[in-house]
């Protein structure tokens, strides 16, 4: 057995509900591979390699085990995360030497890094270093981010589940708002500093009876407070309850974040950035004067695994499997990708790209997918998101709450 080689997986960046499905996909292929002896997981991303915080996952997960299927449905990152940026090796290569020494110590030939933009930068640097120094370690990136802002891929794992949560929540918020016969405005603040994909997903809450959200504002279109108040007034003439979806990252025509305008002071006299939704709530209160409420979906939009998209988790799993295959085929410095080959019926193919094409590039919504007034999205954008939120996941509940996995619980007690 000692002649066999080992592989290592780590996760990095912000949470999604799909990132553990990709982890499970890699584990699935690695278990089935005849060349792999041990499957290691690194705690807290690349930091776990530097700190020698590795777990042997091999015995815990079997193809048909409850653990593997529970891992698929577990939110956030089973192996923890980090926000660690590797130095340019020309400036300081000490981390690189530590990391590759660790790979030698553990006989690791394949390293899989599941993450977003910054994680692909790590994949890029490590694989380049390995090639340059003729080190036989293959480094493959697996994409994830709720923000859907990665280049070279039709959409990112994690986005579809967050989109499903957002659309479902907006519908439920609409039911909640519609009950009184007095005028009201509800402002729902959705994640996205520069890319509005998540906020756009709110449009999928529209049904035969629900037109909410009635207004949608994205970071990709300049935001004018005057137009906003005017838009809300127009909507309030048409209906009692106006529901608005707004990205946290909307910016004024000068490029300043609207949230940065919120110059309240807290109980200590410190300037308080109260957030985009709260700012707009005050704006409506002080201009129109009707009942107004702001709702921040906050972290639940990225961790509510109980309402994940089955399509999203399936794709994330498949990408994990493909990453393993790619590595064993001798590839390195790649990120696995998927391409939409048809929208109705929805089909995708799996492929890969040089990770250098992805690292540090941000994909935003094309302006032509936003309406001219900058307060709604087009049907093309709805059609693009629609297939990604389809399918419900079979969550197991224990004692009335979802049953998930914890690395601490499995490996540390």
């Amino acid at each position: 057995m000692s002649s066999k080689i080992n592989c290592l997986i780590a996760q990095s960046g912000g949470p999604t509900t799909a990132i553990n499905s990709s982890l499970a996909g890699v584990i699935h292929e690695a278990i089935q591979s005849t060349t792999i002896n041990k499957i290691y997981g690194s705690l807290n991303g690349i930091q776990g390699v530097l700190k020698d915080d590795l777990f042997d996952l091999t015995e815990t997960f079997h193809i048909d085990s409850n653990n593997l299927s529970t891992l698929v449905h577990t939110p956030s990152m089973f192996l923890g995360s980090c926000r660690y940026k590797l130095s340019d090796p020309l400036v300081n290569d000490s981390d690189y030497h530590t990391i590759f020494q660790q790979f030698t110590n553990y006989n690791i030939k394949y390293f899989f890094y599941i993450g977003g933009n910054d994680s692909m930068d790590t994949v890029n640097k490590l694989s380049a270093f390995a090639v340059e120094h003729h080190i036989d370690v293959h480094v493959i990136g697996i994409p994830k981010t709720i923000d859907n802002d990665l280049a070279c891929i039709d959409h990112t794992p994690g986005f579809g589940s967050a989109a499903k949560y957002i659309a479902s929540s907006i519908l439920e918020i609409a039911h909640d708002a519609y009950i009184y016969d007095t005028k009201s405005v509800s402002i729902v603040e959705i994640m996205g500093r520069n890319a509005g994909w998540l906020t756009a997903a709110s449009a999928l809450a529209r049904t035969t009876y629900n037109e909410a959200p009635h207004l949608i504002y994205l970071p990709e279109a300049p935001f004018s407070t005057a137009s906003f108040v005017s838009d809300v007034r127009t909507q309030l003439e048409k209906r009692n309850h106006v529901i608005i979806a707004v990205s946290e990252g909307i910016k004024d025509p000068a490029g300043m974040y609207i949230s940065a305008n919120s110059t309240g002071t807290d109980q200590f006299g410190h300037v308080m950035l109260s957030g985009t939704g709260k700012y707009l709530e005050n704006l409506i209160k002080n201009t129109i004067g009707c009942k107004v409420r702001s709702i921040e979906l906050n972290v639940l939009q990225r961790c509510a695994s109980h309402i994940s998209s089955q399509t999203d988790l399936d794709e994330a799993y498949e990408l994990g499997k493909n990453a393993f295959r790619l590595a064993t085929q001798g590839e390195t410095a790649k990120m696995v990708t998927l391409t939409r080959t048809s929208n109705a019926p929805y089909t995708v193919t799996y492929d890969s790209t040089d990770v250098s094409n992805v690292a540090n590039v941000e994909k935003c919504i094309p302006r032509e997918w936003i309406n001219e007034a900058g307060n709604d999205i087009t049907q093309e954008l709805i059609d693009y998101i629609y297939p990604l939120i389809q399918g419900e996941v079979p969550i197991t509940y224990q004692n009335g709450i979802p049953s998930y996995l914890s690395v601490e619980h499995l490996f540390r007690r």
Copy 2:
């Protein structure tokens, strides 16, 4: 058919995910009754009676219809709501004359009002007026409120579903918070101005691997900011990530709402009540200085029907059915109730009480169910809530989002 009598149902107060299940329960019994001709629904509570905004529900709902089962799972109030308080009839009885004239016009003999405290006041006043004026109309109240603060009932419909949402969300937030190896504090603000039942439900997020929430603060125990900061410091010595559940209604020892202390000013120079969670977030930032985030569960805790408690919806349905039976047995001025007869296995019996015992009374958590330090709850309270969040509902999804019913859609297009 014209010799048969009709019944009327209305909903009032704030939304829950169980209130439509009680409506469905009344409809279920009324359909099966041989004495009932038409089942009317009043739009926006008692206001719909005053404004002649009644719908004939009889044809739309059948016992085995999709409509009736979808109604059970639909959040908020299908018939809309109001916050309308009837005058003392000795002061002004004009509303009473209008209402009972309407009942005569529509041949309504049974009126069912589903709501909380204030709605039971309406039931109380209308039934007393009918008795005093020898009007043959039976008025029965059906309880609901997420706050669980009604007297004479073991727990209120709507509470169990909100509790399940809160416990599940806290677990998912814990997964989200645990990923980094740096210190952090997450403060989750939960509804409840005077009663802490909902915040107490956060304790049901605890599992074999998750001890969050690590601190719980309720309106029933006086809140000291000094003790709070000290509690958080102690927790941060034991673990990296501290998760705190706090009622919006916590008060200082003088009885002042903590949220009322938040004296920031907004962009218009107006005093801004930023909310309890935000206030405590600033407090931790300015005293301890670690990473801190506040999360307001907001309206989703009362409208996220996709994760309702089956136990809760079943009980709400049964209470609706019992209300109908009670009315046809000649009762009036009653609220249907349930009593817990055993906790393991969990069993309840259904009964009723004079609505005058319930109206305008508020049930809070007994002090002995809160720990001495006032920062956690006892096992008795956990045992009390535990059965109420059990069971998952079979939600149907359409186009990736939950399938619900809308009165506008069914009756107004």
